[in-house]
Amino acid sequence: METIMIILIGVLVTVATYFILSKNVIRIILGTALLSHAVHMLILTIGEVKKGEAPILGTDGSTYTDALPQALILTAIVIGFAVTAFVLVLAFRTYKTNGTDNLEEMRGDDYE
């Protein structure tokens, strides 16, 4: 299971990197969203995916899955959600003010 997850994470990071390297702002934002999904899955995988028991006191202590990574992921998802929402609005405003969504045309500070 872990091996499949790791391969999937690799695919996600590859696609995300490809997106981030493009010039279109929306593609870059999609890329960052994919990146954050990849890292959430990485944290999940690192906590070992499935062992059996639910992490409840009183059951056999040796077989349950570590619950902490899931708490970390939950926090990271919320933060990622807020950041993505913000950056989408920012990209929209930038597009309206600058009249372009191409980062190549937004470089330098030669015009204002």
């Binding site: 990146l35 690192i46 990574p69 970390l72 807020a82 913000f86 930038t94 003010t97 980062l103």
Partner: protein, 492 residues
């Protein structure tokens, strides 16, 4: 257990929420801002004193004993930085009262400043690595909004780059945390330190350490500062000053904390990497400071030089160097805030950004002209101003560790700082004025007063260094002896 430790984070957030509700009542917002920041200064001064007289203090949230719960830790280094952050924010806000337009003040600028301060203070105080990530994000989200506030075309362009760079950096931070948790099985800083010490510098741990170093370098503007000059030169003056004074310092704090407590630099590749990064940062910063005629760019590259100089302490890794670093950080926060405010005022009164187009400002604004002189001496490191002692201690530490080349580079960078600011001084401040008496923009004393206040602070830091050094020594003692920190968290 001391509930006071959480206050530098809790108070700004609560007040920010209240300020959201009274958006239109600008005067009330200003009064509450000032009172809150004054209160925060008192609280953090109490924390500094508490850590000095007793010992490292901690607050376990929900009563979960470390290493299981999230906790806040107040030690000498973090409390001193919290105190400075609150003081600088107060000065920049006082400046902001006069320089913001009403429309700006109604667009939630004060709550955002408070939220950013909450994130900064939280990053200084937290004792949990994942919590550090969360506090970073609180700070960054507020800064994303602040940098774009105003909505000018160039602001939006630069903020988009700033945001995307930081999203990728935060992603790397999460990856590093994931690998660390997978390897060590804990996120409590003291507990990590203990386990890393037991395992020794295995290749995996060194890799993770390097990953953390890259992440924090991006945030601190250490070598990876490509985003810094652009994004620090576009926001309005007082916000740019806050950024320059606070944001990179959080990155520096994280690097110093990580490589004194969590991972060791000695005998690993990390040591060389830190050294190369620090040297290249100083050199690149010097080139930048000399290359540009745009005042905002010059000021931004001064920040870069400062980052590189502080990082040399991590290379030297001894008590004197860390004393220098703590002192220099405090000085640097004051100095960079003051420089950015002054540059903002210069652009405001002349309506130009290049110093080559300015001349003879001292004829019209004598007090302001001398303040520029003071900030120049201060950043260069002339006694009795605050820059001198930090640089001297740092130099002593570097000599003690045998890194003579680094001593030469860090002191040569002072000369470059002097040169770059002296050119501005001779051209823009001295000389014949090119503004006619009737065209002169009146400079409100309320704009000059916060700058003068920062100048006085710097002078006080230099003159009363004797009284401040015990606090700095206490801070660097913990940095040099991480076992003290670990014992205070885990074995008490």
């Amino acid at each position: 257990m001391n509930n006071l430790i959480a206050m530098p984070l809790v108070i700004p957030i609560i007040v920010a929420m209240i300020l959201l509700l009274i958006r239109r009542k600008v005067i009330l917002q200003r009064v509450m801002m000032t009172l809150t920041l004054l209160g925060l200064i008192v609280v953090s001064a109490m924390l500094v004193q508490g850590v000095q007289t007793s010992d490292i203090q901690r607050l376990d949230f929900g009563g979960w004993e470390p290493p299981y719960g999230i906790l806040f830790v107040a030690d000498g280094f973090s409390t001193l930085l919290v105190l400075m952050a609150c003081i600088i924010t107060l000065c920049c806000t006082l400046f902001a009262f006069r320089s913001f337009t009403r429309k700006f003040e109604e667009m939630f600028v004060y709550p955002l400043i408070l939220l950013m301060l909450a994130g900064v203070n939280g990053s200084f105080l937290t004792g949990d690595l994942f919590n550090l990530f969360v506090c970073f994000e609180v700070m960054l989200l507020a800064s994303y909004a602040l940098i774009a506030l105003g909505g000018r075309s160039i602001q939006l362009r630069e903020s988009l780059k700033y945001v995307i760079t930081n999203i990728v950096a935060s992603w790397l931070f999460l990856v590093a945390i994931a690998f660390l948790y997978g390897t060590i099985g804990t996120l409590n800083m003291a507990h990590i330190a203990q386990r890393v010490m037991e395992l020794g510098p295995t290749p995996l741990i060194t890799t993770i350490a390097l990953l953390f170093f890259i992440v924090f370098s991006l945030k601190a503007g250490l070598l990876l500062f490509f985003w810094l000059p652009g994004s620090y030169s576009v926001p309005v003056t007082s916000i740019a000053a806050l950024f320059a004074a606070l944001l990179t310092k959080v990155g520096i704090y994280a690097i110093v904390r990580t490589f004194t407590l969590l991972f060791t630099t000695s005998g690993t590749i990390v040591h060389q990497v830190v050294m190369v990064f620090a040297v290249l940062t100083v050199i690149a910063g010097c080139f930048g400071a000399l290359a540009y005629k745009d005042l905002r760019q010059i000021a931004a590259y001064q920040v870069v030089i400062g980052v590189g100089v502080v990082m040399m302490a991590v290379v030297a890794n001894n008590e004197s160097a860390y004393e220098g670093a703590v002192f220099y950080l405090m000085h640097d926060m004051i100095g960079k805030a003051m420089l950015f405010l002054i540059v903002g005022v210069m652009i405001y009164v002349t309506k130009k950004t290049s110093y080559a187009d300015m001349s003879g400002l001292i004829r019209h604004y004598p007090v302001f002209g001398w303040l520029f002189f003071i900030v120049m001496l201060m950043l260069t490191g002339i006694p009795p101003l605050s820059g001198f002692i930090g640089k001297m201690l740092l130099g002593q530490g570097l000599i003690a560790s045998g890194s003579y080349v680094l001593v030469a580079i860090s002191f040569a960078s002072s000369i470059v700082i002097l040169l770059s600011l002296l050119r501005v001084m001779l051209q823009a401040i001295f000389g014949e004025s090119n503004i006619a008496e009737e065209d002169k923009i009146k400079l409100s004393p309320w704009l000059v007063a916060p700058i003068a206040l920062l100048g006085c602070l710097s002078l006080a830091l230099g003159v009363f260094a004797e009284n401040i050094v015990p606090y700095v020594q206490n801070a660097s003692y913990v940095l040099v002896n991480p076992q003290v920190y670990i014992d205070a968290i885990l074995n008490k």
